[in-house]
Symmetry: C2
Subunit: 309 residues, 2 copies
Amino acid sequence: MGRRVLAIAGGVGGAKLALGLYRTLPSADLTVIVNTGDDDVFHGLHVSPDLDTVMYTVAGVSNREQGWGLEGETFRTMERLGVLGGETWFRLGDRDLATHLRRTELLASGLTLSQVTLELCSRLGVACTVAPMADEPVRTMVETDEGELAFQRYFVERRCEPRVKGVRFQGAECARPSPAFRESLDAADVLVFCPSNPFVSIGPVLAVPGVRDAIAGFRGTRVAVSPIIGGQAVRGPAAKMFAELGEEASCTAVALRYRGLCDVFVLDETDASSADAIEKLGMTAVVAPTLMVSEEDKARLARVVVAAV
Amino acid sequence: MGRRVLAIAGGVGGAKLALGLYRTLPSADLTVIVNTGDDDVFHGLHVSPDLDTVMYTVAGVSNREQGWGLEGETFRTMERLGVLGGETWFRLGDRDLATHLRRTELLASGLTLSQVTLELCSRLGVACTVAPMADEPVRTMVETDEGELAFQRYFVERRCEPRVKGVRFQGAECARPSPAFRESLDAADVLVFCPSNPFVSIGPVLAVPGVRDAIAGFRGTRVAVSPIIGGQAVRGPAAKMFAELGEEASCTAVALRYRGLCDVFVLDETDASSADAIEKLGMTAVVAPTLMVSEEDKARLARVVVAAV
């Protein structure tokens, strides 16, 4: 067994690096811990968008164009649900629905979200460990100028348009790291913060009691990859959130949020001039191409991350 | 308002006559009360097969070839559910799934099955009243030589192959006729037993406390249409059940089961020789073509039923 890697991921950006790591490392050496603050219940079904994005991406069945959901998806159930007066703003594909039905059914039978994820991964042929950050429900609530919105309402229904005033993680105080997360925090040699939104993808993970301390005292090397490139998020509302919360959207601002939790900070070539500022935060700055478009980009960034240790 | 008709229906045969009545009568004059003993929960979703068959048929969106389900159906969610290790013997179509998701969601919100059915019918453009026999759960359990099977296990998974020893209606003792059923039992001028399986389609309705007495004391005229033609069921296990329960499958055997609950018994021309035996049971025997293949067949049989009164 080589160096064991614990990757902490949110949605699409996290899934891309997780795929790169999966292709680069022996699968037994990789544990991907995924944000579940985005989880919600639609039509009675437990939907875990970030877990699904990571599972589908690593399994090679994700829709590569949109970065989430399954390839070759259709929306016949959703279209019909609209006819019947159901809510359709959160569009669940026909094939994707099977995941939510199965997850909900297995949860109702008494399995934990970790156990259900293990079963789904096994069926999808995912050979590394993919696990939720916690088995207890944590819900990311976005405080906005239109009031507090559950994450998917903010993200999907309102398209990140409301101005963000803060974020809180409902239920986090009753959560604890999932078994795979605890084990990996103890045993891994490398911890990677994938290039995910620091507020709503990594934030919920750090809000689980004990996680921040465990990462602060982590035995190995901690590497973070900036999700901000040239002041912009590759996708999603990270840059907009920084601005609305009164901070400049920059890789340095991301690094600041990881102070005390990170040894090596990987920033994009575009931001090379920020390397000094990041080093001053007590981290080793590694400048590399971080934009992941092709499959090769993902594997290359994974190699950069592992080599940076 | 003309003569008000209360039709009691099970699955496909019942739905056919219900459609004939719907096309023949002013919709305000027709109430269709449907068996819910077939209801079950699949993947956490409340499925009401007979209600759906009646709703879809009357709305004109049913699959005309198979007689149940929606036209133009696909099974993408089911196929995927199989990949994920879920049970797939009860095949739910992608468009059909929307009905079950919506029903389950509305039930979870606190509506009764009657209220949910009203909402679904309204969305589907069904102008007559379609309601469950009861809002409380009643589950038809089939006692067989392989042990007791929930109805769908017997009917769909085991294709009616096990030998039937009896039928019971779990929960019936706690059920009561739905509001629409009670109102119609009081106010209708004609009560029609559609040509549905007497054991597992009409049986559960008659097992709801109070129904048998209300029908025995019904103010208007009660008409039954035989689901057995020439010793055979048009579809489903009715003839096989009669045989396994030690009775000859015949329209006379059906009529025997309605003794005291029926004034007019409609039998097929094939069985004209049974008319005398049926008259001896105290019913008026009406011989007519009862096989419903075309749309015109359904309307014609509906006219026969209404004219027989």
